[in-house]
Structure formats: structure tokens, C-alpha cells
Amino acid sequence: MKMTRRIFKAIMISVISSLVIGTAMAALITYHNYDGAIQNSLHAQLQLASSEVESSEDLPLSSFRSKDFRFTLIGPDGSVLYDSVADASTMESHSTREEFIEAQKSGIGKSERYSSTLSEKTIYEAKLLSNGSVLRISTNQKTVANLFLQSFEPLLIMLFIVILLSFFLARRLSQAIVGPINRIDLAAPSADEAYDEIAPLISRIRDQNSQIASQIKTLQQRQDEFNLIADNMEEGLVLLDRDKSIISINRAAERLFHVSGNIRGENILNLNRSLQMQALIEKASQASHCEQKIEIDSKVYQMDASPICFGGKVSGTAILILDITQKSLAEKIRREFSANVSHELKTPLQTISGSAELLENGLVKDMDKPLFYARIRAEAARLISLVNDIIQISQLDENTPMAFEDTDLLDIAQSSARSLEQHAARNGISIRVQGIHASIHGVKHLLEQLTFNLMDNAIRYNKPDGSVTVTVSDSDGKIMLEVKDTGIGIPKEDQNRVFERFYRVDKSHFRETGGTGLGLSIVKHAAEYHHASISLSSTLGKGTAITVEFPKSI
């Protein structure tokens, strides 16, 4: 509904109705006055005529000719004696006429009669004369309808002009009224500009404007805060709406899905369409929390999808993405470790149990018995050394604090060489320990383990008539322990993995060489415990050199 039109309508209606009513009232009043004047003049004429007739007995009635009035003299019996318009002899008796009867009765009679077309009415007035006859005067008068009809055309023209005029005026007026309201600046309304009546409304709008502005500002701040937090998160965060389109995605997730620019509103499947992802989102859209591991670019991500419920209905999904590559790798190593450990423990036990069973059942010849005892002992010894190694390594894993003391690396190397002398001699390998006395603040038995294991490996994987050289040196503020052999060497592709637990370069022949498979792993841990770094250089078939670099100040 338009205000201008409404005002315009109201003005027009009041103009037209007042015009119509005013005209009608004026017409009625005028007619009424006109009617009265005619009756008065009729009465005066009648009095005049009657007194004339009365005073002179034989006055020629023909002198009463008038353009406006008609005189009729009616005898006492009702016969027309004279008429100023028509021939009296042809006229019928007037004895039944209303005004005649009334005049005979009360001296004066009046009546009105309308013509057949209603366009004229005739007014009669009759007076009883002294001789018993009645003098009647009459005149024709136009009726209201006739009057109206006659003045219809000018009236219509006038009405039309007035309405036209008022149409334009009303339009201008209504526009002028509405103008100030239209001109109100809703962004910054001022109460002075418009009408006083709407001033409260305007001040209310102004208040609400400022309220809305401050609320928007607060919201914006919150949004910014959220974005800042989300963008600086290490984890990826993606918010989806009900149609699985992206509402918000933080920087980490953008990096992860290799997207940039504005991707809000795009479907999540545009980023990743793997079946796991589909399953994840499908489940979350059914209002249940869901986790899924998804591999992207050979990295493992854990995706947690939580439904966002609003009023009991799922209105979106929040996906949190964690990089669990390291974790799942560690898990894999741990799984492999337990599998390896059980396998390594089981093999000697089976030999022991088998040999013991044979002995128990007396299936072994007496001369073979020492062989069996020796085997049981050897396997038991192997088991013990394995368990020792495992204990050692789990201690290192636990990072239990151990007592640090000043230890001489060369002394340790020499004592390790002494304990390995026999073992080396059996394989025809010579050990040489050289270098300077260098003191390290460290855990003595760990350092012993480290040196022993390195040298043990150097002997174990050596060639017949080979040699092992251990050098302790001090350079650049660092103490170096180098164990160099002339052995079989380590293939390049295995060099990174030899420090893993139970990792064997030659998987098929390790039983012949012995060892637990944990040696280098212990070395690595012991070195890490002392913040030392290990470097390995090896040429296949020529030999291996492992260098442990200790920082002087631990």
C-alpha cells in the first residue's frame, strides 16, 4: 500500500463528496427560495385581482391577461366563467378541483399539480369572492429535476474542471506530505528533518542502527578471532553445511588438500573423493561421530567428523584433520618389534625344548649327548643375551635417568678389545685400538655397550684375516670414536635401516653369524642418550666405518 496514493485518494474523496453535497444543498436552498417567491407573488396577484373583481362589478376579465399567470373565474357551481388562456365554454366543471373545494370551504385554497412529464408543476391559488364565485390564479413552475437537467451541462463541465484541478492539487499535496518521509536518510536519520510525529520512530531507528553496527562489529571480531585461531592451528579444520559444501576451511586444511583461493560453497568431494572420505561424511550426516584414517600424498591423516546439531537436526559437519604419519609409523615399528621379539625368543626356546625332549626320551646316543648339552647351553646363552639386550633397550626407551661420571673412552675401547680378543682370534681377525685418552662425562656401562656392540659387529661381519681398527680422537671440540673394519660392507639401500631393531641386511644367513639384531639399535640409543651423532660410511665388499661424535660438554 502506498502512502502517497492513500493520501491522494483521501483528498479526492473528500473533494468530490464535498463538491457533490455542497452543490446539492445549494440547489435545494435556491429552489426552496424560488418556490417561496413564486407563491408570494401568486398570492399578491390574486389579492390584487380579487379586489379588482370585487370593486367593479363588470370589469372585463379579459384585462387580466398576463404572460406569467393564468386567471380563471369559476362559478359557485364549479363551471368555468372565464379563463385567460383557454376558451371558458369548452372547459369542464372545476367543482372537484382541490383548490376550489378548499376555497369554498375556508376562503382560500391552494394546490399543486405536476404535469404528466414531471418536468413542470402548476401552482394554484383560489379565493372565494363575495358573490360566491371563486377566482383562481395559477402559474407554471419548473420542477427540481427539470431545473437540474437544464443546468446539467454547465454543472458537469464545472465538476470536471474542479475534479481535474483537485486531482493535480491532490497529487502535489500528497507528494509534498510524503516527501519529507521519503527523504529520511535511513542510514543516519535526523529527527529535525521530518515531522515531529515520526520523530520517536526516527530516534528509534537511529538507536537500532548503532546497535546493529556494534553487534556486527562484535561478530566480525569474533569471526576474525576464530579465523586467526583456525589458521594458526597445526590441525586442519573444515566446516561443512547440510549439503556437504564447505563453509569454512583453515589454512592447514587448504595446504593438505592442495587448494587455494575461495573454495567456500564447493562440495567437499571436490577436494577429496576417496571412499573413506565419503563414508566419513555420510556417517557424520547421520548425527554420529566418526573417525577415519585417510592417506593423502603418502601421509596418513586421521579425520574426525562430528555432526553439528541444531535443534535436534544435523545442520552441518565439522572435520578435524590430524597428521598421524609419525604416530602410525611408530605404531608400525612397535608392531614389527613385538612380532620380531617373539620370533627371536621363540627360536632358541624351540631348540632347547626340542633337544631336551630328545634327551628325556632317551633318543640320543651317549656319545652325542655332550653335543646336545652344548647346544642347549648355547641357545640358553643366546636367549640370555637377547633378553639382556631387550632390557637394555627398553631401559633406554624409558629414558630412566642414569648416573653420569667421567669416563675414558680409550680405556673402554681397550677393555672391550680385551673381552673380544678370543672371539676375534677364532675368526682370524686382529683388533687394534689407537688414539688419545679422551674423557667423557657419561654413563659408563652405556658407553661400554656402545663400544662393545660396534666392535662386536665389526668382527662378526668381517672377512677372514680382516682387521678392526678403533680410533679415539679429539677434533674441533668433539670426541670421536671410529670403528673401522675390513668386512663385507653394507649395501647403500640398507644403510639407513641398520639401526632399526632386528633389521638384518642378509635376512637368510644371520643365524650363522649370530647376534641378536639389537646391537646397532642399542648403539643408536646409547649415542642419543649422550647427544652424540652417528655417521656411517660403507663400501660393499671393502668395509664399514662407523663414527660416533660426542660433544665435549654434556
Partner: protein, 216 residues
Amino acid sequence: MRNAFEKQLSELHTKLIEMGSFCEEAIKLSSQALAIDTITLGNVSLLKAKIEQMEREIESLCLKLLLLQQPVAGDLRQISAALKMITDMERIGDQADDIAEIIGYLIHRNERDCSLIVEMAGFTITMVSESIDAFIKQDTILAQKVIDDDDKVDEAFLKVKQALIAMIAKNPDNGGYALDLLMIAKHYERIGDNAVNIASWVVFSVTGVHKGETEL
């Protein structure tokens, strides 16, 4: 009105992506089965059934859109391209299922004999993935790359063929086995062609020019 249409169009887009991902998974599973084991073979026929169901769904959605919305220009191209693409996707699902079926018979296959085919399968998987990527991003350059990559698959197919011929020449008893392997290779080659078709429909839906046509 337009809003509802937009919504249905994006639904069509999403469904096509879903169907594409099923296809990818199906051929991935088939090639894994070829390279490693046959455990996952059952899943391929499940995926095939899913792909067929999706084809019908997308088909009816496309027809509904065509009838009720009477799209023009880009929208019409998108919908008609979708109608064509699902046929190719369905074919991919079928081929993967056929491959899985043949693998089921080849229990005593030799890893070395399969290595060339596995390599070839790797090419086709990349092609299918890239053709769907091209569809998602409406990327004509990537689509063109897929179309060009078909040569690689054809080349690989020829290599497989030569190797199998040599194998039969060495030991005629291996004839049936070699033919089965050739069938698998042929299926992968066909999948490569399907990927090319998908890519060329992507080009059509973006530019309005289908392969082989010159711009008017």
C-alpha cells in the same frame, strides 16, 4: 526456480564425483588384486553394482532436469556431457569387474608376468583419476593431458603383447594363461579409452567443442 535448478545441477556434479570415485576404487582394487592377492576381488563386483545403480540415478536426474528445466547453453552441455560420461564410467566399472573375474581364474599366475600389466594398470588409474579431476575443476588442460596420455597406455599394451608372444613362443603350453593375461591388458587399454572419452566430454562441457569437431 533458478535456485532449485542450481541445486539440482550441483547435486548432479556431486553424484558424478561419487560415481567417478567408485570407478577409481574398482580399478585400483583390480590392479591390487593382480599385483598382490585376490582377497579384495569380491569388493569389485560390489562396486560394479554400486556404479550401475549410480548410473541409473544420474540418468534419471539428467532426464528430469532436461524435461522440467529445459536447460540451454552451458547447462544443457553440462547435462548432456554427464549423460555421456556415466556411460563411460559404467563401462569402466564393467571392465574392472571383468578383470577381477579373470584374475579369479589365474591362481597360479607369476608375479613377473604380471608386472608389465600392473605398470599399465598404473597408467590407466592415473588417467581415470585425472579425468575425474579435470571434471571437478572443469580443467580443459588436464583433460587434454588425459587425452594425450592414451598413447602411453597403448604403448604399454603393445609391450605386454610382445612379452606374451615371447612367452608363448618359449613354452606353447602357457597359451591359455598368456591369453588370459592379454585379455586383462586389453581391458585396461579399454579403460584408458573410457578415461579419454570422459576427458573429451569434460572439454565439450566447458568449451562446447567435442573432439574431432572444429569450432563453428
